[in-house]
Subunit: 202 residues, 2 copies
């Protein structure tokens, strides 16, 4: 029987799933054609059809990470500070799925920092996240929920806070339970709300 | 002429320097005997004398990272909140040397997360940093410079903040100049000082 387009698509999905599982377990450092083939129960030969070279495999993995991150369901936040909180909660490894995704993101930093083009792409990605956060912060300021001050600066601080919390939670999941992560984020937001304007002299 | 102990030590230092430069430029993902040999202008054969297997090279690199981080000159802080600030500033990539070291730390996370033993070691390392920070926070609280509340919780938040700031500064050094990093840290500390107690209901 001839292979249908459906078979082809299904096989591509299987390959992507296997790449994802290898990344979640071993990171980019453990991403090899052999590891993906073992995960898939297929031959390395089959995989070279999809990924002629190691860099094709890495490119697919990075693309997968982007697409899965974009597709991850995000918490609906109310307007203002609630939306800032929801956006920051959406970054944290509070579920098994978000933990895998974050573990793969953190792992990808080594690969990204070693490649100037990729490094710039990551910088743009994080700048876009900060821009989105900045707009939410500005709304929270308009509503009087956050003090005045440069919203971009507040967004850069908030993004730093959650990225570092991600790293600590990945290394010490018991010490940084989902509940504790949320408490720490709420402490941070309480500090922002109570603090002086970000650009006031202090 | 017979090789002296001094020659041997000098050669070991050269090898370590070469490993460090490869890590700073290419991360753990780019750490190979071949890359170190090229950096050193030596043969791969010579290096297998020092590192019989890839894992010996990685172990040396991790050890080097630990020792260089411990030996990095730290800012002297006054007591209390000034000491908290000095400890956090000591983490940030504010100099070329601290940038290399941080870039290598971030790169090592992929390697560490993929290895359960190493992952636990990293978790203990970060827990020790938080403990030190916790003691400084408690002193700042006693001096009335920070509000009451669980100092361990404040330390965990502060460590998150600086780790995430490190990551952002590595990807976007122009957007996160040393001066801007210090401003963002000072915003964070101002929020802590003005904020409600960390364990008060909010």
């Amino acid at each position: 029987m001839p292979r249908t387009k459906g078979d082809h698509e299904a096989r591509r999905r299987d390959v992507s799933e296997a790449v994802w599982r290898v990344l979640a377990a071993h990171g980019f450092g453990g991403l090899t054609l052999r590891a993906v083939a073992a995960e898939l129960g297929a031959s390395t030969g089959l995989l070279t059809h999809y990924f002629p070279a190691k860099r094709d495999l890495v490119a697919h993995a990075l693309d997968l990470l982007d697409r899965r991150s974009a597709a991850r369901p995000r918490r609906a936040g109310g307007p203002g500070l609630a939306a800032v909180r929801a956006a920051l909660l959406g970054v944290l490894p509070l579920t098994a799925e978000a933990t895998d995704s974050n573990r793969i993101w953190v792992s990808s930093w080594d690969t990204a920092l070693a490649d100037p083009g990729l490094s710039e792409e990551y910088a743009r990605k994080y700048a876009r996240s900060r821009d989105k956060l900045c707009a939410l912060v500005a709304t929270a300021q308009e509503r009087g929920e956050l003090p005045a001050g440069d919203p971009a600066r507040i967004a850069a601080g908030a993004q730093s806070f959650v990225l570092g919390l991600v790293v600590q939670a990945l290394f010490a999941p018991a010490a940084f339970s989902p509940q504790h992560q949320v408490e720490l984020l709420d402490d941070y937001l309480a500090g922002l709300a109570a603090g002086p304007s970000a650009d006031s002299p202090n």
